[in-house]
């Protein structure tokens, strides 16, 4: 038996990688004298056990969907974009500039304009590494790493010396105008009942006017855009001519050239889309949550996108599922920091282990599975 059944390759390999990552995370916990079971319970409770919890889980998941898609799109063109972090931060700059430019009359207009700003800035930040890769053969992994650092420096400079309002001490832009405030999911009729505020006995809390009160959750309408982005990316990759060209180019640059697919053009377009998606993430955190641009606004989501894309096997559906999983991990991890003595850094360890097992040790998992399957076939035979 040499090849795995397709279903095993698609579903079983990531699942086993995940279990391995979970197992080793548990080992780490045991090693530092903590109970994995308790940690898991706290995480589940904190991330899924309350309206507050899933409000944050979905909020993080939204960000991760964008960055996961960004890595996915680039990956299909054979490009490993580790620059999502910088692209997202610069995308946040686009959002901030748009939101602060006008006293927006309505959030829909602001959202449209900010999305364009976010995508354009994110794409622009990906454009230089893309150009260098396409035209000068500079390895995009290294250039995007460099651009992450350069982005951080640019943001610091702008926040400290240019965008910081007079008299404010922390390096941040001013708050966005009221008209640029995105509705949170708990403001949306139909969804709001998911985010009831309850007291300790689980009873809904009533406001002064006798109506039920709702959590002011950070998950916002951007989630819907993220879902749409998953679908659009799927269409793009598997239904359009451009997607066809991207995938062909990613599989073989030489063959793509034979087919008349312009490598420079595809590299540029793909990275612009990838950077744009990473940039779009900042509508979620900058516009939807912080409502101003802060330093390090993306909080590592660009890197988590790598784990999400690997875990999701570079398919939008997989990215969607993996983003939810990582949303859970992130929110749950934050809760660990609060209610247990387990440092919040545990979630970085888990993230690293997931990347390790799904991205670098996938061959090992496949070998394990092949071995297991050979038993099965042997018995059947």
């Amino acid at each position: 038996m040499d090849r795995l059944p397709k279903w095993a390759d698609v579903a079983l390999v990531p699942l086993i990688s995940l279990l391995l990552a979970a197992f080793f995370s548990a080992m780490v916990l045991l090693a530092i004298g903590q109970s994995p079971v308790e940690a898991f319970n706290v995480m589940v409770d904190g991330a899924l056990g309350s309206a507050y919890g899933w409000g944050y889980t979905l909020y993080y998941a939204t960000s991760f969907m964008f960055t996961g898609l960004a890595v996915t799109v680039a990956f299909h063109a054979g490009l490993f974009n580790i620059g999502g972090e910088g692209q997202a931060q610069i995308g946040g700059l686009g959002v901030a500039l748009v939101c602060l430019a006008l006293p927006w009359p309505h959030w829909t207009l602001a959202l449209l304009a900010a999305s364009l700003g976010a995508a354009a800035f994110g794409a622009a930040w990906a454009a230089i590494p893309a150009y260098l890769q396409a035209k000068r053969g500079s390895h995009i992994v290294i250039t995007t790493i460099m651009f992450n650092y350069i982005a951080a420096a640019v943001i610091v400079y702008l926040l400290v010396d240019v965008l910081r309002p007079a008299g404010q001490m922390d390096p941040a832009t001013a708050r966005f105008p009221e008209g640029a405030k995105l509705p949170s999911l708990s403001d949306i009729p139909g969804l709001r009942e998911l985010f009831l505020r309850v007291d300790s006995s689980g009873m809904p809390i009533l406001g002064a006017d006798g109506l039920q009160t709702y959590q002011n959750v950070p998950a916002n309408v951007t989630l819907l855009i993220a879902l749409a982005a998953c679908y659009v990316v799927w269409l793009l990759l598997w239904r359009t001519r451009l997607g066809y060209q991207i995938r062909a180019f990613g599989k073989s640059e030489a063959a793509a050239k034979y087919a008349g697919i312009n490598p420079v053009r595809i590299t540029m377009i793909t990275m612009l889309i990838s950077g744009g998606l990473a940039g779009l993430m900042s509508i979620n955190n900058v516009m939807g949550e912080a409502e101003r641009l802060l330093q390090n606004s993306s909080e590592g989501a660009g890197f988590i996108g790598i784990a999400v894309a690997l875990m999701g096997r570079n398919h939008p559906l997989g990215v969607f599922l993996a983003a939810i999983l990582f949303g859970f991990l992130y929110q749950g991890g934050a809760e660990l920091g609060l209610w247990t003595s387990i440092p919040i850094e545990l979630r970085i360890v888990v993230q690293g282990l997931v990347i390790l097992f799904t991205g670098a040790l996938d061959q090992m998992v496949r070998m394990l599975l092949r071995w297991a399957f050979s038993f099965r076939t042997a018995r059947v035979a």
């Binding site: 780490v28 530092i32 004298g33 490993f80 580790i82 230089i128 260098l132 000068r136 500079s138 390895h139 992994v141 290294i142 250039t143 790493i145 460099m146 651009f147 650092y149 350069i150 951080a152 420096a153 640019v154 610091v156 400079y157 400290v160 010396d161 890197f303 790598i306 690997l310 387990i342 440092p343 850094e345 545990l346 979630r347 970085i348 360890v349 888990v350 993230q351 690293g352 282990l353 990347i355 390790l356 991205g359 670098a360 040790l361 996938d362 061959q363 090992m364 070998m367």
Partner: protein, 322 residues
């Protein structure tokens, strides 16, 4: 800028360049053998934590150093297993190990010392203390060179001198020994080594192990010489700057020295925006100084400062049978 200020900046340059140099040489061995390693950062961090912790507990900096090298070797072994034995993606493995190190160091240090992921401050023999080179004080009076010797060359910890000595040693090993010949060959064309009857796997593991040792030195230097103890994320991206320096140096030992000194110089300058302003007569934003190594590396990669051609087999696992 007066001479004293220059000396002070050069002194600072040497201190700050040392971890870059060690990490850069570490990357050099690995990448020359065809294993790309963006996990230098993680290895340094692990080593910094382990050396800080063991030095704090044992009071001996040498035990700390050994522990740092050991911890770094563990990560190097993982990187080797993923990218040599299981032929995984070297870049992804490096990224993953950086994350693991970033988290695990805090978890362990917090567990051991309960001080928010740091180790207690190291004192006395738990730290590498500056060495005064012979005649440093006597020669101080000699014009120009005396102060240079006394201020810049003398007065560093032993690891600084070790790092400097490793440059010619690395050159010698790479270009004058059998091991170096094979190492370079395995990074250019592993099949040539394989058909010559030499184990590709063993050579690559050896290279990765050297990388582990050197990153261990770099991390231990951070925690026990440059600073007195470990703090979370204390390597602060130095692994990536070392990588940048490696590209800048085009994978050559002597060039690695100059590149890391240059980047160390930028770091020293970023500490002294006042001096930069005085010399240039306009205010340079500190972030611009911080970003300089990265910008330079991009320029090198873009081929504006000579083409950087990485080892030909770099980044690809050696696969004999599909």
């Amino acid at each position: 800028m007066d001479y004293a200020t220059l000396l002070q900046i050069l002194d600072s340059t040497l201190r700050l360049a040392t971890p870059l140099l060690l990490a850069c040489l570490a990357g050099l061995f690995s990448e020359r053998a065809g294993i790309f390693d963006i996990g230098l950062e993680g290895k340094m961090l692990m080593a910094a934590m382990a050396s800080g912790a063991v030095a704090a507990l044992s009071g001996s900096v040498w035990l700390g150093l050994c522990a740092g090298i050991g911890a770094s070797l563990v990560l190097a072994a993982l990187h080797g297993i993923a990218s040599i034995t299981f032929r995984g993606n070297q870049l992804i493995a490096g990224v993953a190990l950086n994350f693991v190190a970033s988290g695990v160091t805090v978890l362990i240090a917090q567990r051991m010392f309960g001080q928010g992921g740091r180790t207690p401050p190291l004192t006395g023999d738990a730290r590498f203390n500056p060495l005064t080179l012979p005649f440093a004080e006597e020669l101080r009076g000699v014009p120009v060179l005396g102060p240079l010797y006394a201020e810049v060359i003398s007065g560093h910890s032993i690891l600084v001198y070790l790092a400097l000595a490793l440059v010619p040693l690395s050159w010698w090993v790479l270009y004058r020994t059998r091991f170096g010949l094979r190492l370079r060959a395995v990074g250019e064309n592993p099949a040539s080594v394989d058909t010559a009857g030499v184990s590709v796997v063993a050579l690559r593991y050896a290279a990765v192990a050297i990388t582990g040792v050197l990153c261990g030195l770099a991390g231990a230097y951070m925690a026990t010489a440059l600073q007195a103890g470990f703090g979370r994320e204390m390597t602060a991206g130095r692994g990536y700057i070392a990588l940048a320096a490696l590209i800048f140096a085009k994978w050559r030992p002597w060039a690695a020295l100059w590149a890391t000194l240059l980047f160390g110089f930028f770091q020293a300058l970023a500490l002294r925006p006042d001096v930069v302003e005085a010399v240039l007569r306009f205010k340079v934003p500190v972030p611009a100084l911080d970003a300089l190594p990265y910008v330079l590396t991009v320029l090198v990669l873009a081929g504006f400062v000579g083409k950087a051609i990485p080892p030909r087999a770099g980044g690809q696992p050696y696969v004999k049978e599909r």
